[in-house]
């Protein structure tokens, strides 16, 4: 079994949110995606902190977009998953699916 560094809950949510969208993912979009899917609002700064950690682990890459007047002349940073990031997301999903199989009754989910 290979030794791996586990992702925190927020890191995993952010990674999945980066993998998901059809268009390029950036701070606001990722934060909105997590809020919609999890029902909990996440501060944009927390999203960027998680993205920084994911980038350090080589799971996402960042690229600078164009600056706009609406953003006070500041550019968006877009994030894309790397091959390792996609593999990590897949493995995390598989692990969670395997671990949660047969748990419907104990966690109170209707059968």
């Amino acid at each position: 079994m290979r030794k791996r560094e586990y992702l925190g809950q927020l890191e995993l949510m952010v990674l999945l949110a980066v993998v998901r969208p059809a268009k390029d993912a950036y701070g606001v979009l990722i934060s909105r995606e997590i809020a919609e899917k999890s029902g909990r609002e996440v501060a944009i700064a927390s999203v960027y902190a998680a993205l920084e950690r994911l980038e350090r682990k080589g799971l996402v890459t960042a690229s600078l977009g164009e600056s706009t007047a609406e953003r006070g002349g500041r550019a968006r940073t877009y994030f894309q998953p790397t091959a390792l990031g996609l593999q990590e997301a897949r493995e995390a999903y598989d692990t969670l699916t395997r671990l949660s199989s047969g748990l419907a009754a104990p966690v109170g989910k209707p059968a």
Binding site: Y26, G27, V28, A43, I44, A45, S46, Y48, A49, L51, E52, A62, S67, E70, R71, G72, R74, A75, R76, T77
Partner: protein
């Protein structure tokens, strides 16, 4: 449509004290959201979170140093309480409790629940503020009277 005025101070704080590699993009995101109708309160809250996160690794050290300084101050005030003719009981008690609170927050690190930590930290800071104010008011009233009022009271008493 008229554009709302951006919270300039909050943006300045973010740009100067937020150490994230993405501070520019974060500021841009906040400005974009603000212009799309988010409130001033929301903007300030986001900036506060960003500032705390960018200093998250040094916060326990800051709290530990503050606790040490406050503890020394508390000791000085306790000593003063026994040697001074005008002893204040409230001030040393408040400062000592504040030192204990700050110490607990600094030592607990990530083990303690963040809500409990925030609560203890806030109470400690309030106590430190109240202690400092009470100390300042005692010192001021003594200085205004020219001499200690207690000494005067003792001298007048039969």
């Amino acid at each position: 449509m008229m554009r709302r005025e951006l919270p300039i101070v909050a943006t300045w704080l973010l740009m100067h004290f937020g150490s994230s590699a993405y501070a520019e993009s974060l500021a841009g995101d906040l400005i974009e959201q603000f212009h799309q109708g988010r409130s001033r309160w929301w903007y300030w809250r986001q900036v506060a979170i960003a500032l705390v996160l960018s200093r998250a690794d040094v916060m326990p050290i800051v709290f530990r140093c503050a606790a040490a300084v406050t503890a020394v101050l508390g000791l000085i005030l306790i000593t003063d309480r026994f040697s001074s003719p005008c002893p204040s009981t409230v001030t040393p008690a408040l400062i000592t409790l504040a030192a204990l609170g700050l110490g607990v927050v600094g030592m607990s690190g990530r083990r303690a629940a963040s809500l409990a930590r925030a609560l203890v930290g806030t109470v400690a800071l309030v106590m430190l503020g109240a202690g400092t104010l009470s100390w300042a008011s005692t010192t001021r009233s003594e200085r205004c009277a020219g001499t200690c009022m207690c000494t005067q009271a003792r001298a007048v008493a039969p």
